[in-house]
Assembly symmetry: C2
Homo-oligomer: 295 residues x 2
């Protein structure tokens, strides 16, 4: 697969602590019908590290069975290299088109340890890998030099860049990274900025629940109409504001999915909780005001 | 059990990616023979989140089988409440005397989520729990108000306090926490400071590999001879300096264990690595200079 366009990251909804298969299939099918360019199954929004190996394999099988021609990118991150290798194997058996790997940590990792992880995993892959740089969740910060070193490994296809200081970084990184590897922006609120300065793909939480809204931005940017892309993004400012005020996109999007009835409340794995009370009412108000509809 | 004295936290050594049962049993037996007051099995030094549920249960069974009358405190942390509950059950079946729970995170947790985790777990326990405050690894910072709230839950027996700003904090915390709950210091380099200002227990990495050296400090402090305790601790300054320069105690202690031949190199779960090259030679030099001997 090529890592371009809109990659949509759906939730992995639970019901009574188990994967809500029916709801998950509906989320995947809506992404297929909407025509996203890829599906990021078991990304951070999909809470990949909260699930067991068996649960992850089951979710990926459902994703690939219901995604039609849309390629699935599977999150394979785990604390231990051995487990990442097992998850990579499971994901490939489930028929995914690519894998997404973040250097998940408990004990803070060194650069050599992270390089060792990517070297061990890319060596075993027969699908391309996206390097997932998400310091907020992994607490590991990639240097540009380390990314350049990892980019020399086989099977590396893309780098998912965090929103922190992304814009200054993208131009600098682009100079160090081979042209066949796309840079991808994450952090929906600044996606247009990333797409304006050379990101070839948007790894999107918005797109996982509201693919039309994300596609409007993505297709305008792909057509070179950045003013239109920015207008679509600016219209969603109240949603970006919620992401900002409630600790990121996850709880806001999961709450929105519950409010829209596309998943059963509570849909997140405890101890994670969706928003309640005033915060929940705010999410409901923004959905209504922006006329956001799932899928 | 009462949470007092020296609680020693051993490594959980691997050989070829599997628990090195013989080496682990030797570590546990040395702690029993040395006469530590409790053994913190599968603590952070024991890399608890890197092991599967089955591996953790197997390690705990070995720990309780070989610890004699020394109580075992088992780390039961995991990202998901469901898994923590399973691990608590497994630990109790393995015969541990207490459990140790940190609010492990991937998505940053809110105070309500962390309280919900401790409420769910303490409700099910028939052994006491130690609240494990380790912001470097969990990236969650407990407020004193939250600790006071958790201290009201059933079965809470101790709070393991991180070295960051520990001294100012301990007196403030002590005022909010019921007297039956001990405060415990972690961060070996400042253990004496913690023991001087009201900590009743030292959760010690040093004690997990070098119990005699830790007991010398602990017993002097328990006898009220803080000058002697501090002299013992100050003599270990070169070791504290290594902890400080190599990202914490884990890699230094694991490297020391390899150098002393009590575990097989590499003993840590990849991607974690013990120290190599100059850093390894420094560890060897400090062990020799301080005449440190395992167990």
């Amino acid at each position: 697969m090529d890592f371009t366009g809109l990659s949509a990251f759906p939730l992995t909804p639970l019901v009574d602590e188990r994967l809500d298969e029916a709801a998950y299939v509906r989320l995947i099918e809506k992404l297929r019908v909407a025509g996203v360019d890829s599906i990021g199954a078991l990304g951070s929004t999909g809470c990949y590290p909260y699930f067991s190996r068996n649960e992850r394999a089951a979710a990926l099988r459902l994703a690939t069975e219901h995604s039609g021609a849309v390629p699935v990118i599977a999150g394979i991150g785990a604390l231990r290299t051995r487990d990442v290798l097992w998850l990579a194997e499971d994901a490939q058996k489930a028929g995914v088109s690519a894998v997404l790997l973040a250097p998940v940590s408990y004990h803070a990792l060194t650069e050599d340890e992270v390089f060792g992880l990517y070297a061990a995993v890319t060596r075993e892959l027969s699908v391309p890998l996206c390097v997932y740089d998400n310091p907020r969740a992994t607490h590991f910060t990639f240097s540009d030099a380390l990314l350049a070193r990892i980019a020399q490994l086989p099977n590396v296809g893309s780098i998912k860049i965090p929103p922190i200081a992304a814009l200054e970084r993208i131009a600098a990184l682009r100079a160090h990274i081979p042209a066949h590897i796309t840079l991808g922006i994450s952090g929906d609120a600044i996606a247009v900025d990333g797409l304006s300065v050379g990101c070839g793909i948007w790894y999107s939480v918005l797109g996982g629940l509201f693919p039309q809204a994300a596609l409007a931005i993505s297709r305008a940017a792909q057509a070179g109409d950045m003013a239109q892309a920015r207008a679509h993004s600016d219209a969603l400012a109240p949603l970006w504001d919620l992401f900002n005020r409630y600790g990121g996109s996850l709880r806001v999007i999961a709450t929105a999915a519950e409010l829209l009835g596309v998943v059963t409340a509570p849909c997140l794995p405890p101890p994670l909780q969706t928003l309640q009370g005033d915060a929940r009412r705010e999410v409901a108000g923004v959905i209504e005001r922006l006329r956001l509809a799932a899928g």
